[in-house]
């Protein structure tokens, strides 16, 4: 590593430690930011000599990255940005902090995939899904898929592990040199009714989908979720035991096994490692307060709300919505979510934008109680389980109320 990069790397670690000590967050962004100021090539220097996997998509990045890092860990030490700091500053921090490791598994914000692909020369890129997310500032779905296409076309040497169930992802991966397809199921279809290639309708039947007007169709997946397990490319079925809820996480586990396989890890060796992953930056964390077992579920966009309803048990459920900068300022997406799975449960609402949620739930025939805080919610429900589903900053607020639980 050149001297400038060494200095930058060391300063980056110090800044991260200072940020943590000052209680200003995990320190995973500020450290990288300072490091990149000193040496813009720092990320490339830090990535050099490591076998790198990148994980990108709208939903499931953080959890899949954690699972893939655990699976690749069979081979040796893995650097990873496990706090969800998924832009180049976060990658720089994570690699600097980890020191020398033979492997790195990095979660990448979908907008930054091209840049990080360029900087880190990865061996594998995993593409999970693309759906609407913070449309008031994020690029629209088809445009994002096109950016991925362009980025992958420039790196035919990269092996892509991609979701066969998402037409947008399949189209984005069309320019890739080689693809290993996985099938993890897709609950959300509202961003893929129209073929991104030709504009014709996408038809669906059971697991299959195809374009009515051009050859784009679901590729045959090599990795398939089957009940509570995953079938690998040889046809062998592996039972997946996770400490994370929901069918969506079995899908994330399949992706992690597919990524690890590209490093030569056999699924039979990796699968037991997946059970070490518990909560991820507070997601799925359980906390007991006043006889209530509170479980935290993060849901940032319509697709992830549907997954959260699938994970949540039939128990009193608190929904919390904010619309601050990191959440996107627009709450219109609330009407893209069908809240009817919550009918029959005790539903409580809170957050900066609880009134938007109130109007939505009324139209959806879901009775609710508006409460000013998590504590008020806790005292409004009987002892037992309380499910909490919140969007990004609302989730962080609740985590803070619970002393930054991980």
């Amino acid at each position: 590593m050149p001297l400038r990069a060494k200095v930058a790397s060391s300063v980056s670690r110090t800044a991260a430690a200072l940020s943590r000590a000052a209680g200003r967050g995990d320190g995973s962004v500020i450290g990288g930011w300072i490091g990149l100021k000193i040496d813009p090539e720092l990320l490339a220097h830090l990535a050099a000599g490591r076998a790198v996997a990148l994980v990108s998509g709208t939903n499931g990045k953080t959890t899949t990255t954690r699972l893939a890092a655990a699976a690749v860990g069979v081979l040796g030490r893995v650097a990873t940005n496990s706090y969800g700091a998924n832009m180049p500053t976060g990658h720089t921090s994570a690699l600097a902090k980890a020191g020398t490791t033979p492997y790195a598994v990095l979660e990448v914000d979908e907008h930054y995939l091209a840049q990080v692909l360029e900087a880190t020369s990865p061996r594998v890129v995993a593409l999970l899904n693309l759906s609407r997310d913070q449309l008031d500032r994020a690029k629209e779905v088809a445009m994002m898929a096109q950016l991925w296409q362009v980025a992958l076309a420039e790196h035919p040497e990269v092996k892509v592990v991609a979701n066969a169930d998402d037409p947008m992802v399949v189209w984005a991966a069309a320019t890739a040199g080689a693809v290993s397809w996985f099938s993890a199921g897709q609950r959300w279809h509202d961003d893929s009714w129209v073929c991104p290639e030709c504009g014709s309708a996408i038809e669906r039947s059971d697991d299959q989908w195809w374009c009515a007007g051009c050859p784009l169709r679901r590729p045959e997946p090599e990795w398939v979720v089957d009940e509570d397990g995953v079938i690998d490319p040889t046809g062998a079925w592996h039972k997946v035991t996770l400490q994370l809820p929901g069918q969506v996480n079995i899908g994330n586990a399949a992706t992690a096994l597919a990524v690890a396989a590209e490093f030569g890890v056999r699924p039979v060796d990796a699968v037991s490692r997946l059970a070490v992953v518990t909560s991820v930056a507070g997601r799925y964390a359980q906390v007991v307060r006043n006889g209530r077992t509170i479980r935290l579920l993060l849901a940032k966009n319509p697709a992830s709300w549907l997954e959260a309803f699938d994970m949540a048990e039939q128990a009193p459920t608190l929904l919390s919505i904010n619309a601050r900068d990191p959440d996107g300022l627009d709450t219109s997406w609330l009407f893209d979510v069908d809240f009817s799975p919550l009918r029959g449960r005790q539903v409580l609402i809170t957050g900066d934008r609880a009134f938007d949620l109130a109007v939505r739930l009324e139209v959806n025939d879901v009775p609710f109680l508006h409460v000013p805080s998590l504590n008020a919610a806790i005292s409004s429900v009987p002892p037992g389980r309380l499910e909490v589903i919140a969007n990004y900053t609302a989730f962080q607020d609740i985590r803070a109320e619970l002393d930054r639980v991980n």
Partner: protein, 249 residues
């Protein structure tokens, strides 16, 4: 095509036997929670004892000409241009307008109603149902949108969220929906447009969630009623008050 029927849930007040709502091309023009407008109109009709039939027309299906209210949502450039082509070729919507049907269009759907709009860098021919045209603005308009609605419509101020790159210029054949008090709307001064039973706005997505009186206006146009029984709009009123206060700070 999918059609769902919803029975009335309030006492009947007469009017048409079934109120037919059609959502045009959700496969092309549906983003930002556009479904909300359909659901809100349906619910507010049902609560007045009016049974409702909701139909979603995909872009490869003919547009029925006999529905009461047509909704057109927002969308990206490509789908917007495609929707314009197909609706011009279909002519069902034009015939419905000729029979006095109500149209409510938001964002890309609103631009579509004019004589022309810009998509993917070229000028596209619109449906020519409203005397207006749209071009590209100097910057994207993103944020809270509010305005005082044309007093002839008898509706309290508009509250919404806008997210569009276009600017819209009104001709003499239409009236602005509102005078802008926050945000950009058509051009920073006026917002939306209406003529007869056709109404368009840049307040995107579930615009009617924040504007229940506007929803009722569309229902009154559709059933020809001078007024409708009031509903309990406690949460919508709280939401409106909160948003109006947020713009002032």
């Amino acid at each position: 095509m999918s059609t769902e029927s919803f029975p009335a849930i309030g006492p009947s007040i007469g009017g048409p036997s079934v109120l037919r709502l059609v959502w045009i091309y959700p496969d092309l023009l549906s983003t930002y929670g556009d479904r909300g407008n359909l659901l809100i109109l349906a619910r507010r009709a049902q609560q007045r004892g009016i049974p409702v039939e909701l139909t979603e027309i995909r872009s490869d299906q003919p547009v029925p000409q006999s529905a009461d209210i047509y909704l057109i949502g927002g969308g990206e450039d490509g789908p917007q241009a495609l929707a314009a082509q197909r609706l011009r070729a279909d002519t069902g919507l034009h015939r419905a307008v000729g029979q006095g049907s109500v149209i409510f269009a938001v964002c890309a759907g609103y631009q579509l109603l004019g004589t022309s709009f810009f998509a993917k860098g070229t000028q596209c021919t619109g449906l020519e149902l409203l005397d207006l045209y749209s071009d590209r603005g100097p910057s994207r308009a993103v944020g809270e949108l509010a305005g005082d609605i044309d007093p002839r419509l008898g509706v309290p101020p508009l509250s919404g969220f806008e997210n569009h790159g276009g600017r819209t210029h009104l001709g003499n054949g239409v009236s602005p929906l509102a005078r802008v008090t926050a945000g950009v709307g058509n051009d920073g001064t006026s917002e939306g447009a209406w003529r007869g039973n056709i109404l368009g706005t840049y307040a995107h997505g579930p615009a009617l969630a924040r504007n229940p009186a506007l929803a009722d206006l569309l229902l009154r146009w559709a059933i020809g009623a001078a007024s409708l029984p009031p509903l309990n709009d406690l949460w919508a009123d709280r939401l409106r008050a909160e948003r109006m206060a947020a713009i002032r700070t």
